[in-house]
Each structure stands twice: as structure tokens, then as C-alpha cells.
């Protein structure tokens, strides 16, 4: 009788489990809407130009999806974010693993920083990186300082590990610089 009760309890508990959805990249169905926000920096990687793809303002941020965060981590390396920000510790660019955010820690702030660029060196990646991928990178950047759920943050590196994995980081209480957005 007790075994039966345990079994029923287990079945009820397992019924609450949910398999994470892996959103595969899809062709945007709607025509690209005009880009929002103004470009802050003049820098752009490579030659300047309009780019192949207009920025759509579809906000597809999902900071709880482990697949999205892992893709963001892969793209962080592919698009050479690590060239300036290192693996989060900073170098030529500011560190991303501390609690200090010059231009804000909210997903929309980070999105604008990537898309429009920021003064003193951050290039604008508008027209360089597809919108959905930028949101994946935004999710990963938040996980670097522990702002993503531990269950979703990446736990391994494809290359040599130089820091503790993102899912072991302590949450750093974000502190925005005064007067920034």
C-alpha cells in the first residue's frame, strides 16, 4: 500500500516535469520592421555598410532556456566578443563578470549596447548579427555574472576552461553607473 502511494506521488511529481523547448532558427515571416534606437558609436566591424539584414525589433529573449544560453556562449566566441571582453574578465573592453554595468544590465540595455555600439570602443553590430542571435548573446552575457538561473547557465566550455563555469557563479547584484540608461 505504501509502495503504491509512493508510486502515485512519484507519477504526480514527474507529471510536473517539462522538457525544455529547443527553438530552431526560423526565417522571419514578417517583413523587417524599421530599426529602433539610435546608433551611439561610429565604429562597425569590417567595412561600413547597410548590411544584408535589417534589424527586426522582435524581442525573443529567453534567459531561462539552456539551449539559448549555450548558443549565446558559442556566438560570444565566434563573433570575437572575447577579443575585447575576454572570457568575461575584460581586457580592452570592460569586464562582464563583475556587478558594474556602465550602460545597464537589463536585457534591453545589453541589446542596445550590442546593436548601437557605445562610445569609446564598443562597435555597432547592427546588420552584422541576426536579431535572434543577439538575444542569445544577451542571455549569455547576463549568465557571466550569475544573472541567469543556475539550471540554465552553461556548465562547460568547448575549449580550454579558464574560469569557473557560468552555472557555478554567484549572482552579482547589478549596480548601474549613475546617469546611464
Amino acid at each position: 500500500m505504501r509502495a503504491l502511494l509512493v508510486l502515485i506521488g512519484l507519477a504526480v511529481a514527474l507529471g510536473g516535469c517539462d522538457r525544455e523547448e529547443r527553438k530552431l532558427a526560423k526565417l522571419p515571416s514578417a517583413a523587417p520592421s524599421p530599426a529602433t534606437g539610435e546608433r551611439r558609436g561610429d565604429l562597425q566591424p569590417g567595412q561600413k555598410g547597410s548590411g544584408l539584414e535589417q534589424t527586426t525589433s522582435s524581442r525573443s529573449f529567453d534567459g531561462k532556456n539552456a539551449f539559448e544560453l549555450a548558443q549565446g556562449k558559442r556566438l560570444f566566441r565566434w563573433y570575437n566578443c572575447s577579443g575585447c571582453h575576454s572570457m568575461g574578465g575584460g581586457g580592452m573592453g570592460p569586464a562582464l563578470m563583475d556587478n558594474r554595468w556602465i550602460y545597464g544590465h537589463e536585457p534591453d540595455d545589453i541589446y542596445r549596447t550590442i546593436m548601437e555600439g557605445r562610445p569609446n570602443g564598443m562597435p555597432s553590430f547592427r546588420g552584422r548579427i541576426p536579431d535572434a542571435q543577439v538575444w542569445q548573446i544577451v542571455g549569455y552575457i547576463r549568465s557571466i555574472s550569475g544573472l541567469a538561473p543556475k539550471a540554465a547557465a552553461p556548465g562547460r566550455n568547448d575549449g580550454l576552461a579558464v574560469t569557473r563555469p557560468e552555472n557555478e557563479r554567484e549572482r552579482a547584484t547589478p549596480r548601474n553607473a549613475p546617469g546611464s540608461g
Binding site: 526560423k26 526565417l27 522571419p28 569590417g46 539584414e53 568547448d158
Partner: protein
């Protein structure tokens, strides 16, 4: 992807050693199988006939089975001989594979990615190195030394007609020796599950005469030439000002990213997307627009580009021969 894909038709010494071992194993296993079937038939013939009315035979055994010791000894001896033969065959094949000649070997670095193959032809003279993807040309009759690496997860390099499998382990460099003795196109395949598109992670090994190989490799070393007419110039500019150059490289242009396959001579290749899509202008345009329709989950993002821009881009990529 068509092409020969057969372990039992070896086209080189490495695959031949493995095929010999396979035939030896098949012969011994067949002999054992036949022996067991024969013993089973003898038992059937010797057994008394019975029908539904026959009472079950529950009596204790009257007399011991004759010649038990002899029969068991013969069976044990046969098993030992069979297993020893297999062991000897395995050791002989391994030794032969380990002693493949390396003199004057062609050095190729192969890196597995989700879900394509990056191929670098090494040369002692750095200016003669070149990079391509998903298509490996080798000269007939010359040993080839492959250095296998992985860019992300474990993959496995397998060209059944030329050699056995070898896993690509992240953080390790493993070597595989092979040689083609017959010219031809041999299909290869990732043989270790590596994610959504593992099944579409193929490649082709094209074994050709040393002269044809030299001509091909000289053509591959050439950087891309600047486009001359307005249509392809527009495609060239779109490539360099858009998302393409964030991941792909074209020698001779500022595009030098290594996240996706090298496109310096993309139009000379037979297949797109690691053997998943035939390489012609229509498929190339469809692939750029939405790679997910051919390979759901492919790392290349879809691009909602206007028709005229897509045509210009494809026209430019088709000049990269």
C-alpha cells in the same frame, strides 16, 4: 549524396587489412554457426518421436551419455582454435595498420564541427597551406596522414572504402593513416552521434592521379579574384558588409572568420552543407535564405534578404571556382 560507400570494396591498404579481418571473422563465425546447426539437427534425429498422447518422460537417466569426455574435449579445442585464430587475425591487422608507410606522406588537418568538416592541407612552406571544407582530394598511391581534431563535441571520421573509423575528441589530436590505390570518389560520414544534423555530416574523398591532384591543389591555393562586372561586385560588397563575413572566410578579401566553412573556392565543390545539398545556384540561394529547410538546427542563421540582393550574392559566390 551518391558515391561508393562500402567496407567490402577496399580501395586502399588500410581498408584492405580491415576487410581481410572481416572475412576471417565471418568465416569462423559461419563455421561455428553451421557446427551448432548440425549438432542441433543430429539431436533432433536421435530424439524419439512423440505426439500429444505420449506421456512425459520423467524417468531418471538410465545410463550416462557415451563418450562425454571426448565430445567435450573436441568442443573446447575447437573453441580455443577459433578464438586464437580471431585473436591472431586482429593482432595481424592492427600491426599492419600501425606499420603503414609514412614516407612522403600528404599531411591534412581535419576538424569536425557541428555539422561540417574543416580541411587544411599542411605544407612545410606556410604560403602553400590552404583551407577547404567537406571535400578532400588525395593523390592515388601516396600515403595520407590525417590529423583529426574537434571544434565542439566528439565526432568520428569514417571513409569505409579507405580506412577504419577514428574519433575526433575535443582537446586531442589523433592521427589516421590511409592511402587510396584506385582513383574514384569515396563517401565519408561522421560515425559518432554529434547532435541534430549528425546524419547530414558527410564528405567526399576524391582520389585522383598525382597530376590532377597537383592541378587541383594549385587552383585551391589561389586567392579569390576581385569581381569585374557590376552584378558580382554588388554581391561581393554585400558579402563583406553583411552577416556573411562574421562567420566565413574568402582568401583575398577582408573576410577571414573561421566559424563556418571557408568559401574561397565554394563553387568548385560538389556539395553544400556537408553533403546535404547539391551545389548549384538555386540550392545555394535557398540555402542562404533558410538553411533550416535542409538541415533543421544548422548553425547558419536564416536570412530574409530581398530577391535582388540574394541573386547578386549567389552570382558572386558562383564566381568562386
Amino acid at each position: 549524396m551518391q558515391g561508393l560507400h562500402d567496407v567490402l570494396q577496399p580501395a586502399g591498404p588500410a581498408a584492405a587489412h580491415i576487410a581481410t579481418l572481416w572475412w576471417l571473422t565471418l568465416a569462423i563465425c559461419a563455421a561455428v554457426f553451421i557446427a551448432i546447426l548440425v549438432a542441433f539437427l543430429i539431436a533432433l534425429v536421435r530424439a524419439p518421436r512423440a505426439d500429444a498422447a505420449t506421456p512425459p518422460d520423467l524417468a531418471p537417466l538410465g545410463s550416462a551419455e557415451p563418450r562425454t569426455r571426448l565430445v567435450v574435449s573436441i568442443a573446447v579445442a575447437c573453441s580455443i582454435v577459433g578464438l586464437l585464430l580471431l585473436l591472431a587475425g586482429s593482432i595481424a591487422a592492427d600491426r599492419a595498420l600501425a606499420r603503414m608507410p609514412e614516407d612522403d606522406a600528404l599531411h591534412i588537418q581535419v576538424t569536425g564541427h557541428q555539422w561540417w568538416w574543416d580541411v587544411i592541407y599542411d605544407d612545410p612552406q606556410p604560403s602553400r597551406r590552404f583551407q577547404t571544407a567537406n571535400e578532400i582530394h588525395i593523390p592515388v598511391g601516396r600515403p595520407v596522414l590525417l590529423s583529426l581534431q574537434s571544434g565542439d563535441v566528439i565526432h568520428s571520421f569514417w571513409v569505409p572504402n579507405l580506412a577504419g573509423k577514428k574519433d575526433l575528441i575535443p582537446g586531442h589530436i589523433l592521427t589516421l593513416r590511409l592511402q587510396a590505390d584506385k582513383a574514384g570518389t569515396y563517401r565519408g560520414q561522421c560515425a559518432e552521434f554529434c547532435g541534430l544534423q549528425h546524419a547530414f555530416m558527410g564528405f567526399e574523398v576524391i582520389a585522383e592521379s598525382p597530376q590532377a591532384f597537383a592541378a587541383w591543389s594549385d587552383a585551391q591555393r589561389e586567392p579569390a579574384h576581385a569581381p569585374s562586372d557590376p552584378g558580382t561586385t554588388r554581391g561581393h560588397d554585400l558579402f563583406l558588409t553583411g552577416t556573411c563575413m562574421m562567420c566565413h572566410a574568402i582568401a583575398g578579401t577582408p573576410a577571414g572568420a573561421r566559424a563556418g566553412p571557408d568559401l574561397t573556392h565554394v563553387a568548385s565543390r560538389k556539395w553544400l552543407a556537408a553533403g546535404a545539398v547539391p551545389n548549384d545556384p538555386e540550392h545555394l540561394a535557398a540555402w542562404i535564405r533558410d538553411p533550416g529547410q535542409f538541415k533543421p538546427g544548422a548553425q547558419m542563421p536564416p536570412h530574409a534578404v530581398p530577391k535582388d540582393e540574394l541573386d547578386a550574392l549567389v552570382a558572386y559566390l558562383e564566381t568562386l571556382r
